[in-house]
Amino acid sequence: MPRPSIASLLMTPPLLAIFALGLAPLTVVVIWSFWTWDPLTYWIKPDLSLAGYAAILEAGRWTVIISTLVKAVGTALLCLLIAYPTAYAVLFLAGRRLNIILLALITIPFFTSYLIRSFSWRLVLGRTGVLNTWLQDVGITQAPLDWLLFSNFAVVVGLVASYLPFAIFPLLLSMRRVDPTFLAAAQDLGAGFWKSLTTILLPLTMSGIFAGFLFVFVMVVGSSTEVQMLGGAGASIVSVMINDVMRVANYPLAFAISTIVLGVIFGLVLIGNRIFGLASLFEDQSP
């Protein structure tokens, strides 16, 4: 019997965990999405049916899916617009010490509560919040603006605040690989800052741009707290809708929605990986 390689020995425990706690439940999601649900007893039965998927077309559920995707794309683009200059400033403008401080400031949000961060926007955007008070003090508005909180505006602001670091990080990783001599050479040859940015830096950091977009997109599609904390009455997003459907234990419908969402997410991740090689972003140049 050939001895198993060290790599396969090392891989076994994490692989088992990923299969048992990650893959197996997702398989259940896909299978149960084809079962049926009895609205009288709340029981589910293992029939092969498309009732769960058909129910998505009812009660405007598909519009929630579409609006979630639109929010995700919009938030991701907004985040990229802020993240790109930020990544540039951190890498090329900041000195060594400032660089580390900025990196820490960008890292901290990953590990603080999204719940608390969304909740704190209520204090800023509310009727008696900081922003409304300030707008009235300065005299820009006479009465408090009601659309600041519990609105789509508040949700998008909350989403950008929550997931901006997810866009900055991959950009930092990909920009770090760009040799600054390229940029300097372009400038020596007479290219202005914007010219060298668009012809050299942007093409060389496409993988980071895509990864940043992907991360924010995926996080927004899976988000729920921002809508629950900041959204208006009746505002919904896929995760909240799944929550609502589960109040009556309608597993087939909840899992049909989940299957579609997972399909979109994994599709994007795999395509992105094929084109840009996500793994290479995180690999450091270890010889």
């Binding site: 994490p14 060594r96 608390i116 899976g222 707290t225």
Partner: protein
Amino acid sequence: MMIREGLLNRIFLWAVTIAGLIVIYAPPLYLLAVSFNPALQPGLPSLSDLSLKWYVSLAKEQALLSALQQSLLIALVTAVLATGMSLLAALAYFELRTRRAAWFLTVILPMFVPGVIQGLALSAVFTRTGIKPSSLTVVAGHFMWAMPFAFIVILTSFAAVRRSYLVAAADLGATWWRQFVDITLPLIRPGLVSAFIFSFLLSLNEFTRAFYLAGRQNTLPVVLFGKMNSGASPVIYAMSGAIFLVSMCCVALIAIRSLWSVSGTRSQR
């Protein structure tokens, strides 16, 4: 060599950066400041009447305290498991030559599964197999969320491990285990510590998965969420402020340590 951005462009780049940081930090820091205001109405406290009143009254909130205890326990177990497993996964990645990208994707993919879907799916599996919701079921969900992050952190710390070190050790007769203990482990120890702290914080602050997986004792974010939606009381500001502060300090600690080590290695070169 310098890149010349021009003054205006430089100002523009910094302005966007600062705006981004303000969007991220201003609201929670404001909440933190409000938590030191003794008044019932939320607002910035004047410097003269800063007070820990609401923090003191936290001690009387039994529901919050037992939830906090539960959350800390779960976070600790999650951090141990996630760090251990992702160390194995990262070592495997280091050993692999051909299937690296596939392995990376396998470990990282759970990160992309929305929390609601993962929590719900796990709870469906647990109910069917007769596993009662408890702290361990929450750990299962949190572990899947924390492991990809821990894996990436440990993986980046592997940059310090040169292949030549290991080859040299092998030439001198060191077994794989000996190489691991004497060379790899000391070099990646900072990464392991960061991975542990990060997984701990990710679990401590996780909300949607715990919502579906928690048993009789809810975790702190779940209890907080309920309280936030049933009328804001200043005690919530204090609790939120405390959690935010602790999380920030943990990450800042790691940053300061890396600041030390960076200035150390840079000066040696």
